[in-house]
């Protein structure tokens, strides 16, 4: 349950006041479309994977309008909790399932599953064009972004860097990107300095970094791709030299530590149902289009091959 469910409720309250209008016309004929599949698929889990799952559901529904797909965003951990209790069919995850905590719960409830990598995720660190930094180390990033940080300019973390006053931009605390960045850079999920401009709207982050001479921010790599000309992309050095994010460095994991694989876990029980099987096969076959729609980094050909074989193993039960 997310707050977005509040909006229809509010609208309902208003509508009740305005009119007691009747007759919902939803029972219009919708059969006879492309697919003759029907049923419900319950997906929950990582909020980072959710846009991908949502885009997949929409594309899938174009061919199979009678399959109802719900995509929840309880977070990777919360998703596995429901999944291992047998409440959901597919769990979205931005990390592999935990061997010591989550796997035993699934086993206890005899929920068997497959692990299918469906996309790649990467975070881009960007600055204003005037603040042309080529590279930052993970330690420097931590000094800038950690809780209680008083860093005012890049010169505070490295005297060789410009002393333009920084103005910081980042995603809001609800996004998977925020969780991932704070976990990898600051060492604990959700821990951050407080005086930065947060926005759930990545375009607003781009506007801010582009507009301020000392603008520095981070967001999903795909948003950088849409604003390449306006921003300066910063490489990250985690000890093995400086690597700039690109589809390739994110896919092969050399862009460390801000790249990671994204997974869907279908349960074997669910995948025995034709609609779930068709959906998972659709996802793997169309991952490039779905990734594009969801603004996320697609799989490599090799990764697609692995996903296909994972899926086959899962289907054989």
């Amino acid at each position: 349950m997310k707050i977005k469910t509040l909006m229809p409720a509010l609208a309902l309250v208003l509508a009740l006041g305005v009119a007691a209008c009747g007759g919902d016309d939803e029972s219009s004929a919708s059969g006879g479309g492309g697919g003759d599949l029907s049923g419900k698929i319950a997906i929950d889990g990582s909020s980072t994977v959710a846009p991908f799952a949502q885009a997949a559901a929409e594309l899938f529904n174009e061919e199979n309008p009678d399959v109802q797909i719900t995509v929840g965003t309880s977070g990777t951990g919360g998703g596995f909790e429901k999944f291992c209790a047998g409440e959901t069919d597919i769990s979205d995850a931005s990390r592999p399932i935990k061997d010591d905590e989550e796997v035993p719960v699934c086993e206890k409830n005899s929920v068997a599953y497959g692990e299918v990598q469906v996309a790649n995720d990467g975070i881009a660190v960007v600055t204003n064009k005037a603040l042309a930094v080529d590279c930052l180390t993970t330690d420097e990033l931590k000094q800038i972004w950690n809780k209680g940080s008083k860093v005012k300019s890049l010169a505070d973390v490295n005297p060789d860097l410009p002393d333009t006053q920084l103005s910081l931009y980042g995603p809001g605390t609800d996004s998977g990107t925020f969780d991932f960045f704070t976990d990898e850079i600051n060492g604990e999920e959700g821990v951050t300095r407080e005086d930065y401009e947060p926005s759930e709207d990545d375009n607003q982050l781009v506007t801010g970094v582009e507009g301020d001479d000392g603008g520095l921010g981070y967001f999903g790599f795909s948003y950088y791709e849409g604003a390449q000309d306006q921003l300066n992309l910063v490489g990250i050095d985690s000890g093995d030299g400086c690597v700039k994010p690109s589809n390739e460095t994110i896919q092969d994991g050399t862009y460390k530590p801000l790249a990671r694989p994204l997974f869907m876990y279908p349960s074997k029980k669910a995948i025995a149902r034709p609609e779930v099987k068709a959906f998972m096969e659709f996802v793997v076959a169309n991952q490039a289009d779905i990734a594009k729609a969801a603004k996320i980094v697609p799989l490599t050909e090799e990764q697609v091959g692995e996903a296909e074989s994972e899926l086959q193993t899962a289907e054989q039960g």
Binding site: L6, G17, T73, E189, V191, T192, E197, E200, E210, G211
Partner: protein
Amino acid sequence: MTSLAYSRTRRSVGEQAVRYGLFAAAAVSIVTTTLIILSLLRETIAFFGDVPLGDFLFGTKWTPLLGGDQQSFGVIPLLTGTLYLTAIGLVVAIPLGLLAAIYLSEYAPQRVRRVVKPVLELLAGVPTIVFGYFALVFFTPEVLRGVFGLEVNQFNALSAGIILGLLVLPTIASVAEDALSAVPASLREGAFGLGASKLQVSLRVVFPAALSGVVAALILGASRAVGETVIILVAGGQVARLGTDPTVGYQSMAAFIAATSRGDIPTGSIKFETIFVVGMALFVMTLALNAVSIRLVNRYRQVYE
């Protein structure tokens, strides 16, 4: 005889239907208001079950969306941010609005007034999102940085506040003009008869006579500014901070509600409840402002009717 009785019944049935229909229409607003207050109250009570009232009212750090020991529920930064942005807006809107009102009421020829007043009211009809992006993509970079050479952040209080002022300007000008025009002509004529100049009549006779109406106009404008969301959301930044530096951004109460409800906050969590608590605080603030302005308007009416 029968036909008379028949028509009487039919008539009274019709009358009844109209009566209930009209009552239902009037009841909609009351029912809606009551439901809104109830929904705010429920979450507000739940919130204060977890957070002491004192921490909320007097705390100086507002970071309800962070986790662990970084989470803090002091509403002061939101409150001061709201008031600060409103103050900047009013510094712009009050002088311009009052001067425009005096001009329209006392100086402008009928012809000019017939054109200017509708145009002024048209400004009040511009969607606030348009004002917001006007501030963000035009006023900040082109005017503040370009014309005045100020070093402001992309999201800053100055730009959002000034444009907020432009938003409430028509409200203030229009209501104040009504108040000034309502001053009886006999007062003006008396003053002219004593040899007063036009300026003296406007400022020393008409303006003081309309003062309570003018003050009501100012409060209505302030109330509008306090509750304005979109301009601040778009152009004013989203950092809840204490301070008075106009070149950086601040978060207002309404903008916090809008920004937070766009995210994925789990219902029932304390983060979710903060939306309603801030809504409640905002509701109480604007209610107080409106109550004061209604009182003033009533007082002013008693004098001249």
